[in-house]
Amino acid sequence: MYFFDPHVHMISRVTDDYERMARMGCVGVSEPAFWAGFDRGSVDGFRDYFRQLTEFEPTRAGWSGVQHYAWLCINAKEAENVELSREVIAMIPEFLDKPGVLGIGEIGLNKNTPNECTIFREHVELAMRTNELILIHTPHLDDKYKGSRMIIDMLLEDHRVDPGRVLIDHVEEHTVGLAREEGFWCAMTLYPVTKCTPSRAADIIEMYGDERIMVNSAGDWGPSNPTAVPDFIMELRRRGQSESKIKKIVYDNPIEFFSGSERFDFTPPDVFRENAPTGVDAG
């Protein structure tokens, strides 16, 4: 079955991961900007990062027949440096015309602080001014419920925000209803310890339905599994769900949401692979 991984930090993964994902049916990934494991020191550091996300990663993904899309922002973990955050937000429009840029993300909260709220609102302002889709990061563990509610409160403050153009990510049992009640799209991240297991994600789909929802691996430089979406597919197959219903969650829904961006230029996988470039040696 073809699938999309709508949230995976491929910049942290090796080319072999693209290959393994492609073998399992992955035809597209979307990669939000995120924290590098350390706080970056300058706007030029982000400019180089955005070039890598929008220029080299699509090329590298293409070697395995995977189509790559990106989201741009400064992550909430770095929002305590308000001055740098504002410089990055002011620089983002340089990249908004690049092919495959889907919008602003992953923005959100981490520890639910006032500075994080300030920078979140300024990202939303940028997205509204430039008519971009938004991808939201919600906090981890004990901070998630409060942070998710605060994020939704801030989104609802701005009457220009269309919930149908916002994806709230990392939802779990106690936050999925909050997002869906207000009409937002949402996604579940398959991290067995700190977020969702494939079976819990399947439970949530059974309880809340398959509209405006998707799953992702959020694979990154930490413990994570870039082939987690196929694990979710297998869980639904074990439960006897039909292939068409599974496909809706792992393929149709991401494509429907991403189609809200005029730069989502998706080529059906059979056509794309016929024209895929070959790879080069890194070393």
Binding site: T113, Y145, H174, R239
Partner: protein
């Protein structure tokens, strides 16, 4: 997407997982309790939350997972972003 399996089919599929999960839980608590200084843990708020989580598991309901998620969540205060809220707080949506 509703479940297409009946309760017996679901239970047959998850029984060994539940059994294994209970054993992980039991062995983990045993490991804590047999370690030096175990008495300190009885005052740890995290241990208290785990006890409350066990009580949720033993009760009725169709949303035990959601209840446990809320148990392990920081409190939220609605209206934190309104004009009369205390904007000087380090954690503006806090219940405290």
């Amino acid at each position: 997407m509703e479940s297409v399996q009946n309760a017996t089919e679901v239970f047959d599929q998850v029984y060994l997982d539940i059994r294994a999960g209970l054993l992980v839980l039991a062995a983990s608590l045993d490991r804590v309790d047999r370690s030096e200084g175990a008495e300190v843990i009885s005052d740890d708020v995290r241990r208290e939350r785990i006890q409350q989580g066990l009580e949720i598991l033993s009760g009725p309901g169709l949303n035990r997972a959601e209840q446990i998620q809320v148990l392990f969540s920081d409190p939220y205060r609605s209206g934190w972003n309104t004009a009369d809220a205390n904007e000087t707080s380090d954690s503006p949506g806090d219940d405290a």
